[in-house]
C-alpha cells in the first residue's frame, strides 16, 4: 500500500484514494475541431510506461481533491509531488 501525499491532507494511505489513470492533455474546448481519428486517439490512447508516469489521484476518503503525482510503475516509488494540483 502506497503512502500518497495529498497536497491538502498530507501523507495518507492509498486506500483513501482512487486512481484516475495517467495524466493527459486537457480536454479540448471544441472537440468538433478534431478529426474522428484524432478524437478516438484522445479517448483511448493513454500513456502506459514501464517507469515514471504522471498520474491522477482523487482523495475520495478525504478532501475530494484531484491532484497528480509522478510514480515509477516499476518500483512504486513516488518521484515528484511538484505541480501537485491543477492550477
Amino acid at each position: 500500500m502506497l503512502v500518497i501525499h495529498c497536497p491538502f491532507c498530507g501523507p495518507r494511505n492509498e486506500s483513501e484514494f482512487i486512481n484516475g489513470g495517467p495524466a493527459r492533455e486537457k480536454r479540448a474546448d471544441n472537440p468538433n475541431a478534431y478529426a474522428d481519428a484524432d478524437w478516438i486517439d484522445y479517448l483511448i490512447e493513454a500513456p502506459n510506461p514501464l517507469g515514471p508516469v504522471t498520474e491522477k489521484w482523487w482523495h475520495v476518503m478525504g478532501c475530494s481533491m484531484w491532484f497528480s503525482i509522478q510514480r515509477n510503475t516499476l518500483t512504486h516509488e513516488i518521484l515528484d509531488y511538484a505541480n501537485k494540483t491543477h492550477d
Partner: protein
Amino acid sequence: MTSQLRRLASGGDIDRSKIIRYEFNGTRYQGYEGDTLASALIANGVSLTARSFKYHRPRGIMGAGSEEPASFVELLDDDASSSQPITTVLLREGLRAKSVSGWPSLKYDLLSINQLITRCIPAGFYYKTFKWPNWHFFEPSIRRIAGLANAPKQAPTKGQYESRNWFCDVLIIGAGPAGLTSALTAARSGARTILVDDGTNPGGGLLNRTDKVNDKNTSDWITSITDELDSLSNVLRLQESIAWAYREQNLVVVTERQPAAELLLQRTWRIRARQVILACGAIERTLVFANNDRPGVMLASAVQAYVNRYAVLPGKRAVIFTNNDSAYPVAVDMIAAGIEIASIIDSRTGPSNAMRELAGDIEILTNHIVASTLGRQRVRAVVVQSNETGNPRSIPCDLLCVSGGWNPTIHLFSQSRSTLRYNDDLAAFIPHEAVQACECVGAAAGEFELGQILADGIKVGARAASDCGFKRVETSVPSTASSAPYSIEPLWQVNSSETSANAFVDIQNDVTLNDVHLAIREGFGAIEHVKRYTTGGMGIDQGKTGGINIVGAVANRSNVALRDIGTTTYRSPFAPIEFGAIAGGRENSALLPYRHTPMTQWNKDFGATMYESGARWRRPGYYAKNGETFQETVNREALATRTNLAVYDGSPLGKFDICGPDATKLIDILYTNLFSNLKVGTGRYGMMLTEDGRILDDGVTVKLGENHYLMSTSTANAEVVHRHIQHFLQIERPKWNVWITPITTQWSNATVCGPNAREFLSRVESDIDFSADEFPFMAMREGTIEGIEARVFRVSFTGELSFEINVQSRFALKLWERLFELGEPLGLTPIGSEANHVLRVEKGFLSLGHEVDGTADPYDLGMSWIMSKKKVDYIGKRAVEIRRSVESPRRELVGLLTDDPSRLVTEGAPLTPSGRLEASEGFVTASVWSVASSRSVALALLTNGRSRIGQTAHIRLKGEIVPATITQPCFYDADSLRMKN
C-alpha cells in the same frame, strides 16, 4: 497412552511439571509445556507423520520451524485451520491434529500405489492431463488424492480476529542475536522500536545451540536484553508473530498468533516503519540424493534444536551428511544427548582441522556422499559412496542428519524488491542492494559467526536510529568464544548411479531431479518456468529448504553458473497465514458498513424486508402483511400507487448542491440535453455520458436560483458521478468557478405518489399550494410541511402524480410519521423497491444496470430527443457521433409481451433468432407482473428491435423457448397524462 520414551531426563526449555495431553491422527499422547507438536511427537517416537502430496510416500518431520517441507497438519475443533507446518504448532491441552495427507490412514495409505507409477505423474502432469473440460471438473478428486487439507467448515466461534495499523521508527524482524542487539541499540537511542519474532521465546538460533555470550548461558543474556527492552516505553515486542509481507514504502504485515487478549484469536499488524532491519536468520538446506525424503532424514540444525531445546531424541544411531562446517557442532550436541553417531559423511575432500578436532572420535568419511537411504516407513540404513572409488557401503542407522549449507532468509528483503547476489564463499544468494529503507543483518546478511553477528547488530541498530534522527548511544559488544569461519563446498546433487527419480529437490511438492530435467528438455528451462512447470518451490513451504537445489540442478544440467540463473521471485506470505487473520474485523457487514435512512427502524417495525439498493444503502424491498406472499405484496403496493395513494422512502438518491458563476456552464456540459434555458424553480430530467459515449447516469436537476442547482443521481452511482464531476472541474476546467457539495445524507425524502396525492397533500398543514395550476409537473416549491422546512419536487418515477418532499434528515422521520398519521385513514400505503420496479417497468422508465448496461446509448433507448442538437459540445457527444457514423446493427429497447400472459421470465434471459441455439440477439432486461395490464410485461434490448415491433421474439431458457410479441417499451399511459396531470 504412550509415555515419552524419547525424552531426556533433564535439559531443554520445556516444563516437565506441566503435562499436556493431545491427539494426533486419532491417537492420544502426552507432551510438556514448551513443546511443539513436532517435538512432542518425536518424544513419543512417532516418525511417520505425513504422506506426500503426489506419490503418497511416507514422510516424517524434517525441520524444526517454518522451513518444514514434509509434514503439515490440519487442526481440528476450535482451532480449525488447515495446512500448518507440524513444527510451528504449539502444543496445548486438548489439541487435536491430523495429517493433511494420507487416506484412509498414514500406515495403510491406499494411494501410495502412486509411488510405483511415478513415471505416470511427471512434471507438467496437471497441465497436460486436465485441460478438458476444465480444471474444476477434476479438482475435488485431485484434492483428495493430492492430500490438500480441507478448509474448515465454519469460522472459529470462540473469538475473533483483529487488525491494527501501526507505525514506528525502527522495525526489527527476528529476535536472534542480531535482532536483539540492533533492537536494544535502536531502543536506547529513543527511537520508537518494534521487535517482531516468530518464535515462542526470543533468541532465534541461540535457543537451539549451546553457545555462551558474556560467559553466560545464552538464555541469561537473552533475558537481560528483553528485560531492558520491556522496561522501555518506546519499545513494542511482538513474540509468536510472523512478518509475512513486505510492501512498498516500508509497510510490513505481521500476524500475531497468540495475542495476549481474551477472545482474540490472532491480530494482524500493518506496520509502516521508517527503517526496517531484517534479522531473520538463515535456513538450512537439504541435500539431493535418492530417497532423501524418507522419515528419519532430518535437517542437522533441526536435530540440534530437538536435542538441545526440547530434550528429545529423534534417533538412536545417526549418520551425518554434510558439505559444510555447521554440522560438526551438531554432532557434538547429539553425542552429549546420548545419540550414537556412526559416521560423518563429508562431501568435501578436506574439512578443517578445527572441525576434525570437534568431531573427536567420530569417523569422518571425507570425499564421500550418501547415495541413498534404505528402509520402508523409516530409515534403517544409508548407502554411502566414495567419490573416488564409487564403492558403495551400507551403514545402519535410524537417523540421517543432512546439511546442505545455509540460505540467508532473504524472503522479505526480496519482497521489498531489493536485489540479491550469489556469493561463492557461502554458496548462497545474499542481500545485494536495498531499494527501500531496510538492511539485513546477521545470518540474514550471510554472516554466520556469532561474535561478528552481535557487533553487526549494534552497528545496524545504531545506523537505523540515527537515520531516523536519534543520537547514537554506546552499546558494548558482548563477548563470545571465537569460532572458526564457516566453510562450504556446494553440492547441489550427489553424483551416483542411483536413480534420480526419487531424489527430491522439493519435498513438499514431490518434485524430483527427473522433473527438473524434464522441464529443461521440454523447453521450460528458465528458472521461473521450471518453477511453474514442476511446481518446485511453490506451496506452503515456498521451497525454503530446497529451492536453491532446483537452481543448482538447473545449473548442473544447463552448465550455467548459479549467479546467472538467479532465483524465482519471492512472494508473500512468507508462511501460511489464516484468511481470518488477513480479513481481521472486516467480515460480513463490517467490511463495508450499511447505510441507513432515518426511516430504517420505522420500516423494519412496519414489516419491511430490507434490501440493498446500491452503494450499501438499505431500503425496504416490500412490506408483507400477515400471510401475504411476495407477489401479493408487490401487487398490492403497486396497485395502491396506481389507484390511490402511496409513499416511499427515496432518501438514498444521490444529491449534489452545485453553485457558482460557472454552474450553468458545468451542468450544460455534463448533461446531453440543454439546461441553460431552465427557469428557476423548475427541474429537468437529464442524461450524462462518459467521454467515450457510454451512459453514466440519469436523474433530475432542479434550478434553485441563479447559478444554483440541485442535482440528483441514481443511488448506486452517486460516488461515480461525484468523481466524474470533480475530475472535470479540477482537472479539465480548473478555472471554472463552481462549488459542489455532496448532500446525499443531509437531505431525506418521502415521495408521495398516486392519483390522490394532491388531494392528500392539500389536507397537510403547509404553505405550499399543491394545485395543478400553481404546482405544475417538474416544478419545485419551497415551504413548510407540518412545520418542517421542505423542498418539494413534482417529479415522477412511477408514472403517477408524485411529490418528492425533501427535508433535512433529522426531521425526516418526524415528517414520515406525521404523513402516516394523516394518510392512514385514506389508505396511504408504504411501498418498497419491488413495487417501484414494477411501476417503472410498466412505464418503460430506465434503470441503470437493467436497460443501461454499458453498451446502450440514448438512441438505442429511444431517447434521441435527449441528445441536444443546439449544444455545440457536451461530454460524450463526439464519441457517440463517431460511433453512430458507422452503420451497424444496434440493440434497441423494446417491450415484450409473452404469448402466455402469466409467464414471467428471468431478467437477463437471452433472446436468440427463433429461439435457436445461436448467438443471442439481445436479452430481457426486466420482467414483472403488471398490475395495470393484469399480465406479465417485460423490457428487452433487442437487435434492430424498433423495426421489429409487432413481430415475435424468442426467449431461450433452459429446456424451453418462450415466444413473445415485440412492443413499444411502455405499457401504461403512453402519453404520460397521469404524471403530468
